[in-house]
Symmetry: D2
Subunit: 344 residues, 4 copies
C-alpha cells in the first residue's frame, strides 16, 4: 500500500516492518504461551488471508488463534488477542529500532567527521536566512551531531514491554514475567492495553530522531543552493529534463521521511483508549507504527548518505567571512565531540 | 509496508493505489506526451527497481525517463518529472475516488434505509453520554445521512487537474490543454507544482468523508455497548478468548481508518513548497496520498458493512422513552431524506 | 493566554475573536430566542466569571442562562446551551471571516500588481532550490495570485449555519428558519450538533488560505537571502545584535501564523462527537476556532505587508537569466490575471 | 485571544503563561546579562506595545532591547534576541511545569486512593465497549495511576537549558555556564537555537501527561453513562435545558484540554529550523508552548476535580460480576501502588 517504499526505506528496514515480520512476531508470542508443538512456523499461515478474515474481528489475531487451535486446542493459553498483537508490535519495534539506531550511528559518525575536519573552517552564520556573523562549518556539524546523539540516546532508552493481561488485564504478573523473559522484552508494572506509553514514547522518540535528520537535510538543501554553493551531494542526482543539475536528493528524502514520521507519530501519541480495550484508536496503530519506524530509518539512512558523500566547498565558505573572528566556535565543536564520545 | 492492509481496505481500492497503478498512470502520462511508439507497457518496467534507483534523484520518474529514452530518445518531451508524477497522482486519485464514492453511496443508502424504517421509532437522545430527551432512531440515522451526503458531494466536487509546466512552469498552456484532454483531467489556470490546492483539497475532502464514517462507527460502538444494547452488528466478530462476544468490528475499523486518514491528510494540507519545486514536502506526498485515499475507502466500506447488517433492537430503544413526545424528529427525517434524494 | 498576540494578529481581528465578541454573539443568539426584554446587554455580564462558574458545566452558557433567567424566567426558550454556543461560534466566524477576506483581498491585489509589473522580468526558476531554467518574476507572483484567489473563494463559500435543535435535536425546523433569519445565518438541513461540517470546512478553508500566505512568506524569505538578494521587505527589521540586518520579518510572521492555523485546523477537522452532544471534542473547539480565525488573518496581514512594500531587485534577477527564453511565462501571467479579475 | 481560558485553566497556571510572565522572564534574562542598573522592572514596559512594534522584527525582544539600551547603552550584552526569548521560554516552562506537576500529583493521589479503596471491588472489564470478564475497580484506577505516575516522571525529567550563543551561536561556553547559574537553568552542550530538543521533549511530555488525564476523563464519561451508572461526578453540572442532569463536566474538560495540548504539541515537535535561526517555525512556538503548558495544567486539574469528588456506585459495579473470580487484580493493584510510592 505504501507508495514507492523502496525510494524511502532501506531494504532491511522494509523487511523488519513487513507483514511477514509481524506474523513471525505474533507466532513467536504464541509459541511462548502455547503448547510445545510444531505449529508456529510462519510459512504455514497466510497473513493476507488472516487480515481479510480478520475484518469480522477487527484483528488478524482472532483468525490466527482459530487456525492454531485447529492444530492444538490448548494454543494461545489465557492470553487475549491484544496480548499477542501488542507483544508482536514491541518485538517488531525492538528489531527495527536496532536498524534505525545503526543508521543514526552512521549519521552521528558523519557529523563528527565533519565537525572535526572543518572545526576551524570559517562559515557565515545565517539568521532568518540572512548572513549574520562568522562561525565555522565545524560548529554547524557539531550542532547536528549533538542533536543526533541526543535523539539516538532517547530512542535507545525507550522501554519496550511485553503485554500479557488477558481480556480483563487480570492475569498473574508472575506469568507476565516469564513471558517477558521468554520473548526478551521488559516486564510492565501492569498491563498497558489502554495506557499506551510504550507506543507513544517510541513514536515521539522516532519523531525526534527523524526531525534531527530532517534538520540536516534542510541545511544541506540550503547550503547546496546554486547561489550559496557551499556544499553538494556527491551522488546528487540530475533531473529528467536538466541532466546537468546536481540535486541534493538524499537531503530531500531525509526531509520527506521526517514529515512522514511526524504525521504517523501524531496518530500514535493521541488516541482515546476506552475501558480495557479501545474501539478504534488501538486498531489504527499498526500501520502507523510500521510507518513511523520505517520512515525514521529512511530519514536516518538518507541523512547518512547525504553527509557521507558531502562535498564541502571550504574556499567558498571562507569568501563571506575571511579574516573575521569565529568566537568560541572551536571550543564548542570540542564540547560536542566530547559529548558524542561519552555516549559511544 | 502498510501493515495488515487487507484488514482495512477493500481489494479494488488497494489495487487502485498500488505501485502498479501508479506506474501505469505515470506511463499513461508519458504516452500522452511521448512519441507514438510501443514503449509504454507497464509490464516492461519494474517499479520497485525504479524506486531503488530513484533514491539518487528523489523520484522514481527520473530513472523511468532514462529507461524510456533508451527506447525512444524523444520520449518525455518538454515535461519535467513533476509533471508526470503530479499527473499520475491525479489519475490515481480520480480512479480511486470513484471507488470511494461508491462506498459512500452504499453508506448513504444504508443510512437512508435506517432513517426511513425507524423514522418514528423512539430513542433517547444522549448529551455528554447522559440520557436527555426523546428523539427517534430515524433522526440519528438522518444526521449520519446528511453528513455522508454532504461529504460525498464535497469529495466529488474536488477538481483534479493535469500538470504540465516543464521545469520552470513556463510551458505553453495550449499544450497543457491538449494534455488534459488526452488523459481526461482538468486544465489548471497555471501550473500547480508548488501550489498544492488539488492535493490539499482532496485530502481535506477525504478526511471529512472518513470523519463522517467514523462518527457512524462511534455511535454504533456506543449503541452496541452491553449496557445499552440498542444495536448490534450482524457479522460482529467474537474474540480469541471470549467466543460468545459480539464485537462491533466494522464500526471499530471505520474509526481506525478515519484516524489513519486524518493523520495523512494533516501532512497533505501542510507543507512548505519552495520556489518552483519543493525539496521535501512534495516528495512526502505520494505515500500519504495513497494512504488517505485507501483508508477513506476503508472507512466507508467498514461503515457500510456495519450499517447494512445492523440489527436494531427497537423494543430496547423504546424502553427509555415510551410515551414521550419526540418533537419534530419525523419532520427532520423527511428533510434529510429529501436532501439525500436531491443529491442523487 | 495566547502569547504575544499583537505580534501576529491585527487589532480588529483580535477583537473579533475576543471573549467579549463571543459573549456578544451568545447574547445576540439568546436575544433572538428570548423575551422582548432589555436583558441582553453584554456589559451586564462578566465572561471571565461565567467561564470560571462554567467549569462545573463544561460550558459558559449554562451560567449565562442562569443569569438571564434570574432576570426573565422565560429566557433561552427551548434551546440547549450548544445551540447558543454553536450559533455564537458561527456569528464570530462570519464576522472574523470578513476581516480575513479583506486581508486576503489585499494579498491578492499585491500579487496582481507584482504579476503585472514584473510580467516580463526574467527570473530563474528554481527546482529543489537549484537554478533551473528561465521564467519571470511575474509568473512567480501569478502563481501566488491564483493560489490566494482560489483560497479566498473557498473560504468565502463556506456555509455558516445557525444551530437550533434543543437537547435532542428535535426542535421544529420552522423555528430554526426564523432563528436563522433573525441572526443572519444559514438554515441547516438538520441540527449539526455532532456533525461538524461547518466547523471542519471553515477550518480547512482557513488552513488553505493561511498556507497560500505561508507559501508567499517562504518564497520571500528565500528570495531575500543575502546570497540571492532578489527582493527585500521595505519595512524589514533589524535585529537586536545586528542593526544593519534587513530581515524579512513579515514573511517570517506569515509562515509562523500559517503553522499556528494548521495546528488548530487539525484539531477542528478531527474529533469524536458522541451521540447527540460530544463529551470533549466539542468543548475543545472554541479556543481552536478563535485561533484558526485569528492566525489566518495574521498570515494574510503579514503576507500583505510583505508584498505591499516589497522591493524588487529586477537587475539582480536578470543576472542569472539574461538573454534566455522565458517560454510562455507572459501568457500564463495573463491567464492568472484574468482568473483574478473574474473572481472580483 | 484564547477563548474562555478560565473555563479550562486554573488561575495560577494562566498567570504563569501570561504575557506578563513572559515579559518578566525576558527581563530576568536581560538582567543576568546586563549592567547592574535598575532598568529591568516589568512595570516599566508594555508587552502589548512591544509586540505591536515587534511586527517589524518578528520578535518582541528587538524593541525591548531598544528600550533597555535607551536606559543603559550596554544592556543586552553580546546576546541575540533569541537567547533572551529562548531563555524566557524555559523560565516560563520551568515555573509552569511546577504547577502542572502539582496538579498531576493530585491526580495520582486521587487514583491511588481509589485503587486502595476499591482494590477488591468487582467490576466488569470491557473490551471494545463490550462486557468481558471480571476485574476490579481498583485495577482500573491502578492503570490510571501507573500512567499518571510515569507521565509525571517523564515531564519532571525534561531538561530545561538556558540559551546563550549570540547571533552565530559562538559565544564562550563559560559565559553560558555563568548565565545558566544566574537564572537557574541547565547549561546546554552547545546552543540549541535550531535544535529544539528542549521544546520538543517538553511538548511531548506535556502531551503524554495530558493524554493520561484524558484517558481518565474518557473512562469516567463512559462509566457515568446513564445506562452504566457506575460512577458520577459529585460536582457534576446540569444543563441549561435539563437541570436534573448530572454531567461529568470535569471529565469532559479533561478530554477537551488533552485535545488542545495534542494540537499544540504537534506544532512544537515538527518544524523546519533553517541554518542558525529559523524563519517561521521558531516564531510559531511561543503561543503553542504557552497553550501546551496551560492546557496540560487544565487537563490535570480537571481530572483531579473529577476523581477527587468521584461518587462510586460499588453495588452497581458488582451487579455485573457477582461471584466471579477477579484473577490477579488485587496483586496488580498492589504493584501499581508500590510503583507509585517508589516515585514519591
Amino acid at each position: 500500500l505504501t507508495t514507492f517504499e523502496a525510494l524511502y526505506v532501506p531494504a532491511p528496514i522494509r523487511e523488519a516492518v513487513s507483514d511477514k515480520a509481524w506474523l513471525e512476531a505474533m507466532l513467536e508470542a504464541e509459541r511462548a504461551l502455547g503448547p510445545d508443538e510444531d505449529i508456529f512456523r510462519p510459512e504455514e499461515y497466510d497473513i493476507a488471508a488472516l487480515c481479510e478474515q480478520g475484518q469480522m474481528d477487527a484483528s488478524p489475531v482472532v483468525p490466527l488463534v482459530r487456525a492454531l487451535r485447529e492444530r492444538a486446542p490448548d494454543a494461545h493459553g489465557p492470553a487475549t488477542s491484544q496480548d499477542i498483537l501488542d507483544t508482536a508490535s514491541m518485538l517488531v519495534s525492538k528489531r527495527t529500532r536496532e536498524l534505525v539506531l545503526t543508521e543514526l550511528d552512521g549519521v552521528a559518525a558523519a557529523c563528527a567527521g565533519l565537525a572535526e575536519t572543518y572545526r576551524s573552517t570559517p562559515m557565515i552564520a545565517r539568521t532568518l536566512l540572512q548572513q549574520a556573523v562568522p562561525a565555522t562549518f565545524g560548529l554547524k556539524a557539531a550542532g547536528w551531531l549533538v542533536a543526533v546523539v541526543d535523539a539516538r540516546r532517547r530512542l535507545a532508552a525507550v522501554t519496550l514491554p511485553v503485554q500479557l493481561g488477558g481480556p480483563g488485564g487480570t492475569l498473574d504478573p508472575a506469568d507476565t514475567a516469564r513471558f517477558a523473559a521468554a520473548v526478551g522484552l521488559v516486564e510492565p508494572v501492569v498491563p498497558w492495553h489502554v495506557h499506551r506509553r510504550p507506543v507513544a514514547e517510541l513514536a515521539a522518540a522516532l519523531d525526534a530522531a527523524a526531525a534531527a535528520c530532517g534538520k540536516i537535510g534542510l541545511d544541506v538543501v540550503l547550503l547546496a543552493q546554486t547561489e550559496v554553493d557551499e556544499v553538494s551531494e556527491s551522488g546528487g542526482g540530475g533531473s529528467s529534463s536538466m541532466p546537468h543539475k546536481h540535486n541534493p536528493a538524499s537531503a530531500v528524502l531525509a526531509r520527506a521521511c521526517a514529515r512522514l514520521v511526524h504525521a504517523n507519530a501524531g496518530l500514535l501519541t493521541s488516541g482515546d483508549y476506552e475501558h480495557e480495550r479501545a474501539a478504534g484508536a488501538w486498531q489504527a496503530e499498526w500501520p502507523a507504527l510500521s510507518a513511523a519506524l520505517a520512515y525514521a530509518g529512511g530519514a536516518a539512512a538518507a541523512a547518512r548518505r547525504s553527509l557521507e558523500g558531502l562535498q564541502v566547498n571550504a574556499a567558498r565558505m571562507e569568501e563571506s567571512v575571511a579574516g573575521e573572528d569565529t568566537g568560541s566556535a572551536e571550543a564548542l565543536v570540542d564540547r560536542a565531540l566530547s559529548h558524542y564520545r561519552e555516549q559511544a
